[in-house]
């Protein structure tokens, strides 16, 4: 195992975060805080509670998931896309590092950033909304699993994308709408049929539901199903990354 190689990639990516602190950390924290102010404090105070939880507190897992998904994807996709774009990828490809080590470095750093950001958002939310977490360890597990899985997904997008537009395409056109429609701001039990059933085809529902269970002890779908879907998505991403390196898809001609 080339530990120095993994560390080099990880440190390089983390250094980018500290170098672009405003963009990497401050901006997502600010935009999520605005959601808490508008939906949690301003509008939320006029809405009734859901399953005994205030609306402001109810949306925390969903908003956390929204930030986690978008930041994991964006960090990991940019991390691998930029070396491709600038040509510096030659160095990684010619180094004695295995595909697993490359992924560990890039995805590890992206997931670390996302989890740090998630924890920062949780701390910031406490300023605006009163909440407590029923299962803190499960919360951490869901944060970690989601961060790693979607960083892997971002890594795949970064490899696939051939320009900056493609890089933004899936996060903006697919992931964000799925998150908004996946129960971030409401319980899916509030939806009429057939929307309630159709929503179950949205994979983000299981992520938000699992995290909401970890927070408050209740969820839209069964916990085992949430964990199963997250694990399934993780395995699918791992299999895709493995195929990419085997075939050299868009990285090695």
């Amino acid at each position: 195992m080339n530990w120095h190689g993994i560390t080099a990639i990880y440190r390089f990516e983390m250094a980018r975060t500290w170098r672009t602190l405003m963009q990497s950390i401050a901006s997502p924290v600010l935009s999520t805080s605005l959601y808490f102010i508008v939906f949690g404090t301003a509008i939320g105070s006029r809405m009734g509670s859901i399953d005994g939880i205030s609306y402001g507190a109810f949306i925390i897992p969903g908003l956390l998931m929204l930030s986690l998904l978008s930041e994991s994807i964006s960090n990991a996709s940019f991390g691998i896309f930029f070396p491709k774009f600038s040509g510096t990828i030659y160095e990684v490809l010619s180094a004695p590092v295995s595909p697993f080590e490359i992924v560990a470095g890039y995805v590890g750093a992206a997931a670390t950033k996302s989890v740090l950001l998630g924890l920062l958002i949780l701390a910031t939310a406490r300023i605006f909304v009163d909440y407590s977490i029923v299962h803190p360890l499960w919360t951490l597990l869901f944060l970690l699993l989601t961060a790693v899985t979607f960083s892997l997904f971002g890594f795949i997008i970064g490899i696939w994308a051939e320009d900056f537009q493609q890089l933004q395409l899936i996060p903006l056109m697919v992931v964000t709408p799925l998150t908004f429609l996946g129960g971030a701001f409401y319980s899916i039990s509030m939806l009429p049929e057939p929307w309630q059933t159709l929503t179950l085809f949205n994979p983000v529902v299981y992520l938000i539901s699992g995290l909401r269970w970890a927070f408050y002890g209740f969820a839209d779908v069964n916990l085992a199903l949430s964990l199963g879907m997250t694990a399934f998505f993780l395995i699918a991403c791992l299999a895709t990354v493995s195929w990419i390196f085997k075939r050299g898809y868009r990285i090695r001609s």
Binding site: T7, A8, F12, G87, Y90, E91, S94, A95, P96, R252
Partner: protein
């Protein structure tokens, strides 16, 4: 001098069916400087990229110091440093950070003392904290070399190392390459500057249309393929060349006052006989001089030769 890189029947066909390499076999000797010459699109960069692991081969086998580049890729790649043709750098990183990153990437533990020496040798020490984007093109090229040498490789690939750099930097690089060779590093360089190959290489390989046309010691190549020219300035213009001199295929120039004889290494002994024959026919010589073909002329002749 043993072999450090063994390439056998290497071929590469890209997805668009372009055959970049057509069964190249080449042995690179430990500690030598091998220059690969060839026109644009000949396959030089593809060859280098395959050895370094950037491009997948379509066929053939490569061993680096006995290690197969696919099966034992860690051992093989850790021995190689690459300075690519393009100035691909992390613009926002500092010189020190990018060089330290390269060393780590190649599996080496941090060694600040070595990196300091390296940056000092490349006149980059004063710029160690500068962002790469703030450096001149020449300085960026030095950074690329520092990155390639950061893990103390035994083999250094230089793909067009002096393209677009000024004369001073080119001279510095040549000096650095010689110094590396003295330390036992094997250097493979591709270049468009024939002067560069002529100046530095121990051996020359010529690639054209994905095939290795030849590979030989530079001196032997010059002797075998280099043409020489003997120009004989006559006292009096010569109306016609006497028949016994016809086998020499002399050319008349400058109003028949100059006779030109083209010969190669094998025909060198014929000069004495030619001069004797001329004396026999009372052709007096005022002056004479010889000129050797440059490597550039040899190269142009080779790649123009119909295959």
């Amino acid at each position: 001098m043993g072999t450090i890189i063994e390439i056998q029947q290497l071929s590469k066909t890209y997805a668009n069916d372009f055959r970049a390499l057509k069964g190249i076999s080449l042995s690179i000797r430990r500690g030598e400087i091998l220059a690969l010459l060839g026109p644009n699109g000949a396959g030089k960069t593809t060859l280098i990229s395959i050895v370094c692991g950037i491009v997948n081969p379509s066929g053939g086998q490569i061993r680096v110091d006995g290690f197969d580049i696919n099966r034992d890729y860690r051992a093989a790649r850790s021995k190689i440093g690459l300075v690519p043709q393009e100035l691909a750098t992390d613009s926002f990183e500092s010189v020190w950070a990018t060089v330290a990153f390269s060393r780590g990437l190649f599996g080496k533990p941090p060694d600040p003392a070595y990196l300091q020496r390296l940056l000092q040798q490349l006149s980059l020490w004063d710029k160690r904290d500068a962002r790469i984007m703030a450096l001149s093109g020449g300085m960026k090229r030095r950074v690329m070399i520092a990155k390639a040498l950061s893990h103390e490789p035994e083999i250094l690939f230089l793909d067009e190392p002096t393209a677009g750099v000024d004369v001073e930097l080119r001279q510095d690089m040549w000096a650095m390459v010689r110094e590396l060779r003295e330390r036992g590093v094997t250097i493979i360089l591709t270049t468009h500057y024939i002067e560069e190959a002529e100046e530095m290489a121990d051996r020359i390989g010529v690639i054209n249309h994905g095939e290795l046309i030849l590979v030989d010691d530079k001196a032997a190549l010059m002797t075998k393929l280099g043409r020489k020219e003997l120009r004989l300035h006559l006292q009096q213009p010569l109306a016609s060349i006497p028949e016994p001199l016809h086998p020499y295929r002399l050319q008349q120039e400058e109003d028949n006052q100059v006779l030109v004889y083209h010969f190669d290494a094998q025909q060198q002994s014929a000069i004495a006989e030619l001069l004797k024959q001329m004396a026999r026919h009372d052709i007096e010589i005022r002056d004479l001089h010889t000129r050797e073909s440059s490597l550039e002329e040899i190269f142009v002749n080779l790649v123009r030769k119909p295959r």
